[in-house]
Symmetry: C2
Subunit: 528 residues, 2 copies
């Protein structure tokens, strides 16, 4: 047996270039979709959190149809990137805006670089970037590639010029191998669903054979999420060790107060007393085992405050209802925004909406629309924990018998969405999130059940009324002959009788039937 | 609007620690399964390719039940790791055995480090490693952690001692937060399926409440895959650029001959003539655009040889049939190993088997068993291109009407399996692979159709025979009374008559019915 032992370190950029499938760049169609997605999400992250109403232009053009080369251009009116940072932001893997606990669409700081690496591998063309930061005197233009063996940007060329009109924003152009035919529908669907959950954005999209303009439908922009500290309930040992290495001289009490969300003097002392730990001990002197113990106790303690919701920016029930009605043409929508919860120190909120009837075609299992931090997720539904929750849900308990006209929207927002792959298309099976999804679905389904029960009762009432009312004319006619009284007057008193018996007048009944949907919904909302 | 611009680079190990979900470490149950998987695959990769019959021992023990801490221990008799390389192999992300074009189970060089990072984040315990390389005089023991900010190993302690009995192999122990209850079934299933496709391995597994011994069923080990060069048909621009930078002075012809699979003098010249490129031009003098052109031509050229199969180690039809029959208790199995094909310079082979009847319960869509480089894939079936291919397959054309007792095995082996995530549970949608899967399935389904048609005919024949035969006794009885002849003799001649009419003796028919399954299968195999 001859065995040769040889080892080497692979540069990080080269690793990602070779393994681009894991970031969603697995074939030309999917890569084209992923490119649009990464660029649009960067544009939304450069506008919305700063209170800027997003204006986004996307253009896809064939460059060489024989080779399936396309240019993808995305421009926004965001905060821009300072000139000297542009090469690193586009040309160095794992370099991005500073890591903060705050909800944003981009999580891996990887998307842009994957776009650059994909362009490089397929067409060998550099990415073109034009950007100006807010109040910048200059506009910067760069053409950049990545040296994958060194993980460094290669500046192919650059120029700067006067920013006469104080423009700010970023425009990016890449030439990639794509497949327009097979990605067109997904890209359109992606932009449409984006516009639904971000109706304050204005999106113009021009493809090789089509044009689409998604108008701004409101100028109300949700309050930007704030930055925050991790929640003490469930940080891990390694994170705490890193925090300690940055503040060695602090006492245990100070350390907790300064580094964690919602921990004041009183709460820190209560916790440390409960945990039998000395509040005045400097954290720098803790042994490895003591740090492990501290983290265990932090996990076990039940007295912490709930994570703050102001880091997160959920859509809210009204927006979800408007969205679901407008895409799906539903008869009724029941939406729920859960209170914040947390996993591994990251707060998250689950929202769910159940859409019923109307234009929804009855199906054997519910249609599912998935969102994460307002990003529509279109691929890999089978790998998403939301699909599992919806499939395992006991719909029968809520009066839903399949096939039924039902669709479900599930939105997770978090300072860190736990995606199951770097392609960001499916949410991983995190127990805390799965649990919240179940509860959100249950809350929404309860409202649906009230609606469906009420509808059943109304239908019963209506059937009862019509089954009696259809004899009124004949009875009145016969009675009129026998008694010599006026037939119409008799009919009227007979109707009266039926109405009294049912506890409703005809007008009331009619009105009631007409306004059924909205009135029941309100009631359900109050009870929910 | 106040905008703060702040950017930073995140160290690679820290990035993976924070994003461990993408490598399959998303909750304690899944992380436990993933840990076993990564360690077992390393063990198989350290034995089988070197012609060593694998002996693998896996032990899972509770360490602290209140905290859900478990130790996972995996030991093998593989080629081991040289002592001085152990810290880097376990403690540095993207450091691994030299990148070669050769089929192996581990692809990302990431699994081991993710196990170490996960242990570190949950229990803060180092990984324990004991290893000796082949013919090493010493056995090395290390306890290692990873400094995630520097991506460097931390050696907690180490010792070395004499290797008296010339042992070689590796034993690894980690303490992790796990969930035995929820991972038990998956781990058992994973090991069982591993034993099916690698019957030359001996696997002993002891869990907290069970024990499992998977005996070696053959000592025939498949020939180890050889190392090779990339196939010229579909390498990308970046790869070619890197290759050129390592051999600048070579002429175009030399460059092609030395760097690509199956390219000799004649073929290189034919190609370059076809592409109108000068064979004597030094590759170092090619411009960017000329390199792009070269790669395009290489993609477009139809004259290359098929990629060599000796890099790959498929299971083969017999092994698949044995496997499918033993797991599924099928009545019949039809297996196909396709010829090698390639995507992006990586050769691959698709194998498919269709199992029918027996203990397989009729289902609405086929049960699917997925394998990649002999690794069973258990999670994320919905995201796997194999599931798509099986679901979109036109089963009706092959006499399969659902519900039907049918199961499908699909095995992809390649020098680089394109996983859709670093968790290695689903194969990405690569067009070339999808196409081969379709063809493999079609080939296997044709054999199934022959089998089912023949079965139908046999059944018809049998029905015809029995429908005639049931009157023999009565007719013989009546004829005996009328003719005075012996009833048994009459019956015998009547049976003869029927047999002649059907062209078979009773014995032949009986034999035929009994041996139907095997005889038809052979015939189908010959015809397929």
């Amino acid at each position: 047996m001859t065995v040769t032992y040889a080892y080497e370190a692979l540069p990080v950029a080269e690793w990602f270039r070779r393994n681009r499938e894991i970031a969603g760049f697995q074939n030309p169609a999917r890569a084209m979709y992923q490119t649009v997605r990464e660029l649009v999400e960067n544009s939304l992250d450069a506008t919305e959190p700063y209170g800027i109403l997003p204006n986004i232009t996307i253009t896809i053009k064939p460059v060489d149809e024989a080779k399936s080369w396309y240019s993808v251009y995305v421009e926004d009116n965001g905060v821009g990137i300072p000139g000297h940072e542009i090469p690193n932001v586009f040309g160095r893997v794992f370099y991005s805006s500073k890591y903060k606990i705050k909800q944003h669409r981009g999580v891996f700081g990887l998307g842009l670089k994957m776009v650059v690496l994909y362009a490089q591998s397929t067409t060998n063309r550099p990415i073109s970037v034009r950007s100006a930061a807010v109040r910048s005197d200059k506009i910067y233009e760069y053409r950049i590639m990545i040296d994958t063996t060194k993980n460094e940007p290669i500046i192919v060329d650059m120029r700067e010029y006067e920013n006469k009109y104080k423009w700010h924003g970023t425009a990016v152009k890449v030439v990639i191998e794509g497949n327009w035919l097979n990605s067109k529908k997904r890209i359109e669907e992606y932009l449409r669903r984006t516009a639904i959950i971000s109706p304050y954005a204005e999106i113009y999209f021009k493809g090789p054979d089509m044009e689409m303009f998604l108008k701004r439908r409101t100028i109300k922009i949700p309050p930007p999420p704030e930055e925050g500290l991790p929640h003490p309930k469930s940080v891990d040992v390694d994170t705490v060790k890193q925090m300690i290495s940055e503040s060695k001289t602090a006492t245990l009490a100070e350390f907790l107060i300064n580094n964690f969300d919602g921990v004041g003097e009183g709460l820190a002392r209560s916790f440390l007393e409960w945990a039998a730990l000395d509040p005045n001990k400097p954290v720098g002197s803790l042994t490895q085992d003591e740090i492990v113990l501290l983290v265990e106790k932090m996990k076990a303690y039940e007295g912490w405050r709930r994570p703050r919701a102001d880091w997160l920016s959920p859509a809210g029930p009204e927006l979800l209802e408007v969205g679901a009605k407008s895409i799906l043409g539903a008869e009724a929508v029941f939406a729920v925004t859960r209170k914040p919860s947390s996993y591994s120190g990251h707060p998250f909120i689950v929202e769910a909406a159940i859409a019923w009837g109307g234009q929804i075609v009855p199906v054997d299992k519910p249609i599912l629309l998935r969102y994460a931090n307002k990003i529509p997720l279109l691929y890999d539904e089978g790998a998403d924990v939301a699909r599992k929750v919806v499939d395992e849900f006991n719909w029968q308990n809520y009066k839903v018998k399949f096939p039924a006209p039902v669709a479900v929207i599930i939105h997770v927002c978090s300072t860190k969405v736990p995606y199951a792959s770097a392609g960001k298309e499916a949410i991983a099976e995190i127990q805390e999130i799965e649990e919240e999804m179940k509860l959100a679905l249950r809350d929404a389904a309860r409202k649906l059940r009230i609606y469906l029960s009420r509808k059943e009762r109304e239908l019963e009432l209506l059937n009862k009324y019509t089954s009696l009312a259809k004899y009124v004319d004949e009875i009145a006619h016969n009675m009129a002959i026998v008694t010599g009284l006026d037939k119409d007057a008799l009919a009227k008193s007979l109707y009266k009788l039926i109405e009294n018996k049912l506890g409703l007048t005809v007008e009331e009944l009619a009105k009631h039937v007409l306004s059924m949907a909205s009135s029941i919904k309100e009631e359900a909302a109050e009870q929910g």
